[in-house]
């Protein structure tokens, strides 16, 4: 086989070594730094993006927990406000009811007082008018003049008798 012919070995070895060194230098100087740099840059970018994503996620988690805590606070606050409001409304209701009751009591008392005054006045009016009526009637019956004082006296006595009778 021609490959075993040692005549050309020295030149083949020489040019193999030379070609390999030339290729090594060319790749090491003009190709590999570009590839390594762009791969490093891309890796760096991806790592940064991942780190950024982690940060964003952590921020989101923090915001979420803060939001949850705030919601819980708001819920608590709302409950507290409702309780206070209910308490205040109840107190207000009770106060209004008390005031109303007092007012009703006062009005009832006033009404009763006024009614009593009116009744007394009516009684007095009735007595007065009845006395005149009795005097007139007596005068007409007995043709004797009875003055107003006597008629009043007679009427009072009659009424007293009537009241006594009523009590018995």
């Amino acid at each position: 086989m021609p490959q075993f012919d040692t005549t050309f070995f020295s030149s083949q070895i020489f040019w193999t070594i030379t070609s390999f060194i030339v290729l090594f230098v060319a790749l090491d100087r003009y190709v590999l730094p570009h590839i390594a740099a762009i791969l490093k840059k891309r890796t760096q970018l991806i790592e940064n993006e991942i780190e950024e994503a982690h940060k964003k996620r952590e921020e989101a988690e923090t915001i979420k927990s803060e939001y949850t805590a705030r919601l819980a606070d708001i819920d608590q606050e709302t409950k507290k406000m409702f309780a206070e409001s209910e308490k205040r409304m109840s107190a207000q209701h009770n106060q209004m009811m008390d005031e109303w009751k007092t007012e009703m009591e006062r009005r009832k008392r006033t009404f009763l007082e006024e009614a009593e005054v009116t009744r007394q006045q009516a009684i007095r009016d009735i007595r007065s008018q009845s006395a005149e009526l009795v005097a007139t009637a007596t005068e007409q019956i007995i043709h004797q003049r009875v003055d107003k004082a006597e008629a009043q006296k007679a009427l009072d006595e009659s009424i007293t008798e009537l009241e006594k009778y009523k009590k018995n």
């Binding site: 070995f9 070895i13 040019w15 390999f20 090491d28 570009h34």
Partner: protein
């Protein structure tokens, strides 16, 4: 691959185009040298063109270069533990050089530098020498501990040490022969099929010539596999030189 009818080994012949001497050293320019130059030129120019203006979002060409680099870098890191990064340029050069030489030979009429024993032998001995030097540099006289396997009874040492020594010295031989034999066999098979195709009657020519197409596809795959095997074994030898025994 030469298509002449003079036989399947004709295209392995070294043709000297220009006789040249450097002192006593013959450095004549032959087809081997020319096709290695073409390989060096093609590999460096094409890779430089692909990666000249690297972008963060790569185009097809840049992606191809990055895939090639990533593949070699991954294999180097996998096989040379802890210190793989340092040897990526060497392994990338070795891979692209062997792959380029293998593929250049598949162009019809071209010559395959890696089908020459002197070429594969130089590469294999180069790696072997580098690994041996590295082992001496790292371990000094501890270099010889590798030939005395741990836990072997002393009575077995006269048998084990020569076996280990032969196995160690066989590394460059197997490395060189594997690549050389694969490239030679593949191109011989292609040559035989082509000769058969041309020699066959006109109505049967399609059969061997059709097979050459399949064979070329297979050769492209073999070109990659052989470059890969050479690089992986080189990494293993370097890693073996770096670790303690």
């Amino acid at each position: 691959m030469s298509m002449d009818m003079s036989g399947p080994i004709e295209h392995f012949k070294v043709i000297v185009y220009h006789h040249l001497h450097l002192g006593p050293l013959d450095i004549s320019i032959s087809n081997t040298a020319i096709y290695m130059w073409i390989t060096v030129l093609l590999v460096s120019v094409s890779l430089h063109a692909l990666i000249r203006r690297p972008k963060l979002i790569p185009g097809t060409g840049q992606l191809l270069a990055e895939i090639l680099y990533g593949f070699v870098a991954r294999q180097t890191r996998l096989n040379i533990h802890n210190e793989g990064d340092k040897y990526i340029p060497l392994m990338f050069t070795l891979f692209t050089f062997i792959l380029g030489c293998n593929l250049v030979g598949l162009i019809p009429g071209a010559f395959t530098p890696t089908s020459q024993l002197a070429v594969t032998g130089t590469l294999a001995i180069g790696i072997f020498t580098f690994a041996t030097g590295l082992r001496f540099y790292r371990h000094g006289m501890g270099f010889f501990h590798a030939f005395v396997p741990a836990g072997v009874p002393k009575i077995m040492l006269p048998l084990m040490v020569p076996i280990e020594l032969i196995s160690y010295l066989a590394r460059p031989v197997t490395l060189a022969l594997r690549l050389f034999a694969n490239m030679t066999a593949g191109h011989m098979a292609l040559g035989v099929l082509a000769v058969l195709g041309l020699a066959a009657p006109w109505f049967l020519q399609w059969l061997p010539l059709g097979f050459t197409v399949v064979q070329i596809a297979l050769e492209i795959i073999i070109a990659f596999i052989q470059a890969y095997i050479f690089v992986v074994l080189s990494c293993v030898y370097i890693d073996d030189a770096l670790v303690d025994h």
